[in-house]
Symmetry: D3
Subunit: 284 residues, 6 copies
Amino acid sequence: MVNTATMEWITPAVQALLALALEEDLGRGDVTSETIFEHDETVREGRIQAKAELTLAGTALVEAVFARVDPRVLVRVLKADGQRLRPKDVAIELEGPVRSLLAGERTALNFLQRLSGVATQTRSFVDAIAGTKATIVDTRKTLPGWRHLDKRAVVAGGGRNHRVDLGSGILIKDNHVAAAGGVRIAVERAQTRAPHGLRVEVEVTTLAELDEALAARAEIILLDNMSPAQVKDAVARIAGRARVEISGGVTLDTVRAYAEAGADLISVGALTHSAPAVDLSLEL
Amino acid sequence: MVNTATMEWITPAVQALLALALEEDLGRGDVTSETIFEHDETVREGRIQAKAELTLAGTALVEAVFARVDPRVLVRVLKADGQRLRPKDVAIELEGPVRSLLAGERTALNFLQRLSGVATQTRSFVDAIAGTKATIVDTRKTLPGWRHLDKRAVVAGGGRNHRVDLGSGILIKDNHVAAAGGVRIAVERAQTRAPHGLRVEVEVTTLAELDEALAARAEIILLDNMSPAQVKDAVARIAGRARVEISGGVTLDTVRAYAEAGADLISVGALTHSAPAVDLSLEL
Amino acid sequence: MVNTATMEWITPAVQALLALALEEDLGRGDVTSETIFEHDETVREGRIQAKAELTLAGTALVEAVFARVDPRVLVRVLKADGQRLRPKDVAIELEGPVRSLLAGERTALNFLQRLSGVATQTRSFVDAIAGTKATIVDTRKTLPGWRHLDKRAVVAGGGRNHRVDLGSGILIKDNHVAAAGGVRIAVERAQTRAPHGLRVEVEVTTLAELDEALAARAEIILLDNMSPAQVKDAVARIAGRARVEISGGVTLDTVRAYAEAGADLISVGALTHSAPAVDLSLEL
Amino acid sequence: MVNTATMEWITPAVQALLALALEEDLGRGDVTSETIFEHDETVREGRIQAKAELTLAGTALVEAVFARVDPRVLVRVLKADGQRLRPKDVAIELEGPVRSLLAGERTALNFLQRLSGVATQTRSFVDAIAGTKATIVDTRKTLPGWRHLDKRAVVAGGGRNHRVDLGSGILIKDNHVAAAGGVRIAVERAQTRAPHGLRVEVEVTTLAELDEALAARAEIILLDNMSPAQVKDAVARIAGRARVEISGGVTLDTVRAYAEAGADLISVGALTHSAPAVDLSLEL
Amino acid sequence: MVNTATMEWITPAVQALLALALEEDLGRGDVTSETIFEHDETVREGRIQAKAELTLAGTALVEAVFARVDPRVLVRVLKADGQRLRPKDVAIELEGPVRSLLAGERTALNFLQRLSGVATQTRSFVDAIAGTKATIVDTRKTLPGWRHLDKRAVVAGGGRNHRVDLGSGILIKDNHVAAAGGVRIAVERAQTRAPHGLRVEVEVTTLAELDEALAARAEIILLDNMSPAQVKDAVARIAGRARVEISGGVTLDTVRAYAEAGADLISVGALTHSAPAVDLSLEL
Amino acid sequence: MVNTATMEWITPAVQALLALALEEDLGRGDVTSETIFEHDETVREGRIQAKAELTLAGTALVEAVFARVDPRVLVRVLKADGQRLRPKDVAIELEGPVRSLLAGERTALNFLQRLSGVATQTRSFVDAIAGTKATIVDTRKTLPGWRHLDKRAVVAGGGRNHRVDLGSGILIKDNHVAAAGGVRIAVERAQTRAPHGLRVEVEVTTLAELDEALAARAEIILLDNMSPAQVKDAVARIAGRARVEISGGVTLDTVRAYAEAGADLISVGALTHSAPAVDLSLEL
């Protein structure tokens, strides 16, 4: 039941989120089931299946939900995170007391539909730039409390993770630049003082700032809210001296143009802040 | 700083979610700010403003985030939850140490953009049925860990809340009916055994089941996945003997037809499971 | 070891209470046992048995205590919650390391004696109204931290649960009426605005208020601190238009008179706020 | 607002219990107040007053409850823990938003009624032995999760505390004696190995065991389930070589006889396991 | 896997510390292993072995760490707490997925090296006084959050525990004496009011205070910062009427002199506040 | 009272550690003070002062301890973290109820003595390499539960932080190399797959491996357990193509030789795993 996928998804913080999630739905019991069912030990089978095309993510959460609701429920994961499902594909089979299946159903599906939604959204961006050298990365625009899960779902969808939190990456934004007094001084300070294992990334908005950044040996340049044409020019000027990240309002319609303009990394907040849930249901 | 809005939004469970949210982003500090800023006490002002039309929700979370990040940050809420904002409208003014503003910015916005997204989505459904007697209600398809917040955002958007959890409402679904042996027996059991303060709601899929439900004195009838025409027929048959709830794949395009067909309540999972974030930003 | 009873009793909040309970007794170890016993692995058997007549409740807590103290302890539950025990009846058999039995003994018994006390108290009220149509229900006068457990124990004793918390039922009391400006307006507001799955209950103190309540379609009328004769009159006036709940100083001596006066529900705070512990002991 | 009483009562573990208590009642909000009240900021005054004779305990919990529910509520404690109240005596005055008063009322009273119940029960035992040299002490038969609070309430009622937990006192009971192979060896081991700051107490059931205990230099002798006459004989034999504790089924009717038989300490489980709540109410 | 050692070490508070420890190292995953390893299920064996002479303590923590990181990891404890190890002695064998071994390695070793460091330091003090009647005891100068673990490690090293916390022992220090108005009154108050299971210990700094303490029947006398010669005089004056504890700057060089001067107990803060980690490593 | 230092030190995880620390010492109250002091409100002043030369760190913890013990205690921090103190220098002045000062004293000092111990140890290493280009950095060999605090103390002592956890840095060690099949393939995988903001560091043990690492564009080379002479050779071969980190048994005697051999970074586990507490005391 424990496997490496579980370990990677279910951190202590995720356990805390699971506790909140089950408390908020089940903390006062399930009055309907308690009222309706005479015999509480009836065992049933159930199948979680896709009702639309989607990329699966978060199966470990279904395991974790039922492990908390009722360890007697058997959870057989048939499809791996990252797999593409078509309508009627069965992702997970369940077997256990009917009251336990009903008790955990909604929370398990809520996790799975959200995380598969993120993976599916990510997959569509990744597919849109297939064949280019660019990589789709996420942002810190994740759901509060869900950082770790959202980032795993992005990976399941074929994307890559930007920095996990404010402590694990140097990203000097316009506000930092303004407060520090310029791109050059900000980058130099970071190169001198930041933890040695972190590369220095800086956001630039003009060619002059870009030159400052390169002169101060920034290792990654973030071009925010530029057009593909502007990106192309900037990439040419950078000439391999730094990696190039693009951000700001990238959509499925525009993402390929940015990739073809030479970006190494394209960060997309919508992967996590606006992914619609995908349709998955539990059939008993 | 404490007000009734705060009390209503910031329950102990929400405090726990806040703790997770700040830990996941700030638990290892903010290496960029620590690296860049010489003087750590510089005070700045900031404004959270709309960049699109939206209905605001979750301002208490912005207060709560900064109360945890740095109580010295002043948070002035200029617009109330539920208000409609237009681009450039300022919702909240902030004043405090620049490092603290930057430290709390992303988490505060992540909360506000999500919750205003739910409110905005809800508002569009509510507006679509204006003038009918129907009410838009939410479901249990909320984000795990966010039940309370999502439901408050629905109210801010003009919607109403369905049951909060499995312990606070009787809703007999098809699975319960099948396991109990019929609509009639399921409703009768609920009328006899359920907590006396709860009305009995039952899902029916045929007219025969509808008749059973009414005979057993169900107080609310849930019509799932019916067309507006079918709803109209069912409403006529019910003839005021029970309230009528509609659910299942209701969209902005179809919601008015359901309302006009005579539904009292229309529940929409997408209010919470697929609300895109709205665009709000912090300008320093 | 896991069964449906366990699931129903041991919610996450109860797990938190268990953690507090064991920490407060065992958090610093057991200096006596550590000092006295040479060989710490000696296995013993023990029996938890009644020393007086009682109705059992809370056996799942005994399982949960020993699962935390030492999972090697086998707990065999011989009597179900709700069963009546006579002196010397054995409720539970235990087998495990003697130090572990002694370590968990007091906490397990403290849970079981309290919860069986509540069940026994409830049973005596339920028995007192046997043959009437009335139902004994609990109140929110439970031990702080014990809401869920106390309410389960009431059910084990044959009672029924009133609303679980302030979020799962509408009960308009005299203070609400006064602040709202009258029974009628308060009930009307509730009928319009409250979650649709909740019935509206209102406390009335005069016949005039009773008439207002009925006119506003209150579904449950709470008659507080009335004599049985007054209740009888009120029931006649209500004439089946609403359910009738009685509360206020009901004792074992008076409860049957209230039931015979026509009450549907009799709520008794003493079920949970003043239930004496029953006598159960662990014999090794 | 913070005072020494608060510090003594509100430990971190009590904070955790408070969190559970408020979550279980208020975690889903207060649907009645939200539905009824138009204006949510109306300020009211309230008084918590006795409705029967009682000894007060736990006022710090009322402060702590409202500090969590709404810090705007002013709590003025007029009577100190340990004071005797007569009907209509006002213990505490409150002032704050009516919705907040109603939200915290039940939890605050549940704490206060329980703890004052323990104090009142203790006070009656203490009064019953007035003039003797004996002391009333509690046991570990406290409510799980309430150890600290129950023990404080005993002190408020004029009693004294036995050991707080299994880690803070040596009490060798019959089971220990049996497993160790005799009173003498058990006491000797304790004298050699136990933490040096702890006195050694041992339970004896025969005069032979009593002699063994004294020979091994037990500092406290526990006489369990003996009659007052037997106690008198044992006390004479001990002749000041050890303190004498009595336990086992001591009631208000018999306690004085035990005290007059020469006991130093009389431990009474019922102080905490069977104290009925006392009647206190909040009048707005 | 569960055994009595586990129970004694892994209290609920230690579980909370373990949660913090794993969150702080693994909460964001292990980017290196995730990046490097293609196949994530490769099983490896590992051995935790001594690289210097040491006394082992804390093996239960290694079990507890891997039980949380990955329950598939087998942990075979070959040496018991308290055993002396020589370089290359293998204390523990591990077997499990290589990624899990690497994930738990550092936290497990950090616990084991610290706790064995405390045991080793304690062992050296205990050995230094071999043959005398004195006992080495610890203090409350433990690492915050580590009280229970540090005290267990002292026992593993052959020492004994002083009071566990401020609630489980009476120790009247100079500040208490000054505030109370003298040794005599302070000791008398303690003898009258303190829990009866606790002996009264008092710190004295002069012979006059010593006489007061004895007159008031102090059971343990703490001699702080005296020379061995002064201790010898005091011991003679006490003449068996109380136990004698020595504290204050005792080192490995001076400890034997204090023991030979007649101390019963020698408390050493350095056992826990300044124990260097011992060298243990995990070889895969 | 809140300042930037507080924000940087007292993360949510540190709050959890503080809760454990106070619970373990004060959770059962302070029986000595409660027994001795008649008047519990006496206010006293106290001074925390150095009793030896030391570098101060962790003053925010003293504030945080007393904020939890009793918010009435005023804490005036006179010396900043990182300052060098001489014997009798006063670091912090306190003023508050004497019982509260005594209650928090030990926990506050235990934090301060440990953290100042780490800072003092770090300072001695930093001073030893003054004038070279090398930097002293810490490791993950911190006390479990203390990662954040230990790392802050290193900074206070003039050192710099290595990666905070397994999620915020790529460090390919010998075990990774072995499992991956060589330095080259391991580094290449990391350059391709790791988060783009992280530099790639690899441990090498031979010149052949060093060449592989450079060929694969490793950005930091870790030379483990080499002599200063070997380091010098390696640095020459690297020729500025990567930063050079030294680790393994570096002591105060050898550290300068390593710095002069050309290391950029010298990591020292003893900064945190074996720092003796420094002597600081509270004088009332």
